[in-house]
């Protein structure tokens, strides 16, 4: 991706209302790969006993990051929507820590983009969650 195009992608993603409300940020994008982060926030806790973030917030992060990876693929789709997304939760994210995710569009056809992603906290060796998804591809002839 050219610096201009990645700047536009960054502004586009960071302007999504739901992502803004979660303080999600795109940290890196290019050539079918995207990286995003989600800061810890008491408003999105799913288990009040432990303070662990709800899986839904992790889903929103994974879904956005996978969509961004599909959009950034060199085949250059003009738009995308999620067809399906599976998330596996390996462990609870540690309360207080930012969640980082990296998504990779590993195959794209004229109709479908196949994407996988991994989410980690400070302990980057042990993933918090992984995701695999299929996305629609718009605007490739």
């Amino acid at each position: 991706m050219t610096p201009d195009k990645s700047k536009i992608a960054e502004q586009f993603i960071n302007a999504i209302p739901h992502c803004k409300s979660l303080n999600m940020k795109l940290t890196n994008i290019g050539a079918g790969v995207a990286e995003m982060m989600l800061p810890y926030d008491l408003r999105i806790v799913g288990d009040p006993e432990t303070g662990v973030i709800h899986g839904g917030a992790v889903s929103a992060l994974m879904d956005t990051c996978c969509g961004a990876a599909a959009m950034s693929h060199p085949a250059s789709p003009s738009g995308t929507a999620t067809i399906d997304l599976r998330i596996d939760y390996m462990r609870a994210a540690t309360p207080g820590q930012t969640i980082h995710t990296r998504a990779e569009c590993y195959r794209i056809t004229r109709s479908v983009a196949f994407v996988r992603a991994t989410a980690v906290d400070d302990d980057a060796e042990n993933p918090v969650a992984t995701a695999t998804g299929a996305f629609t591809v718009e605007g490739i002839k």
Binding site: A15, I16, P17, H18, C19, K20, S21, L42, R43, I44, V45, G46, D47, P48, E49, I53, H54, G55, G56, A57, S59, A60, L61, M62, D63, T64, G67, A81, T82, I83, D84, L85, R86, I87, D88, Y89, A92
Partner: protein, 174 residues
């Protein structure tokens, strides 16, 4: 002949069930963040997601964020599953509703995996969902969820998830 126990007054039963559900739902910050509410008919629950600007994922269409849809369905699944397990304990008084409303929540099931099937884009309107517990074992459960907006028969998303059940007191006691 054994005397049948006299049924409790309807208001007492309703009050206890509604208080238990309210404690379960209102104790989770993320559920409040999305603004999800639950309506109860007997043991059947319907989750309601009132539309709000902060739920938008595509400002051009506009459409509800796929992550919101996933979070809404996962919440419906977890609460539906916890509710089905709690039901008997609430009925027999094994769960003290007073304790629940003081924030002493029973442990919730943990999501192992969750797969969302996005059938059409979520419109900027209220959404509804119901969960069906297909299997609920001592350790694992499988739950299916359907979500719709204007028409019950026209789903905009569905999902299947597997959950790890919290240990029950009886298990801990051996």
């Amino acid at each position: 002949m054994m005397a049948r126990k006299r049924p409790e007054p309807v208001q007492v039963v309703k009050q206890r069930r509604d208080a238990a559900l309210s404690a379960l739902v209102h104790g989770v910050p993320y559920i409040q963040f999305l603004g999800i509410e639950f309506e109860r008919r007997g043991d059947e629950l319907t989750a309601i997601l009132p539309f709000d600007e902060k739920l938008i994922g595509n400002p051009i269409l506009p459409a509800i964020h796929g992550g919101v849809t996933a979070g809404f369905l996962e919440t419906t699944a977890v609460i539906g599953l916890a509710w089905s397990v709690m039901w008997d304990d609430i009925e027999t008084g094994r769960i003290d509703v007073e304790e629940l409303s003081l924030g002493h929540m029973p442990r919730l099931p943990k999501t192992i995996d969750f797969t969302v099937d996005y059938l059409r884009s979520g419109l900027p309107r209220d959404a509804y969902a119901r969960a069906r517990v297909n299997r609920s074992g001592r350790r694992y459960a499988s739950v299916h969820v359907e979500a719709w907006q204007d028409q019950r028969a026209v789903l905009f998303a569905q999902a299947t998830g597997h959950f790890l059940m919290p240990p029950r007191d009886a298990d801990r006691d051996g």
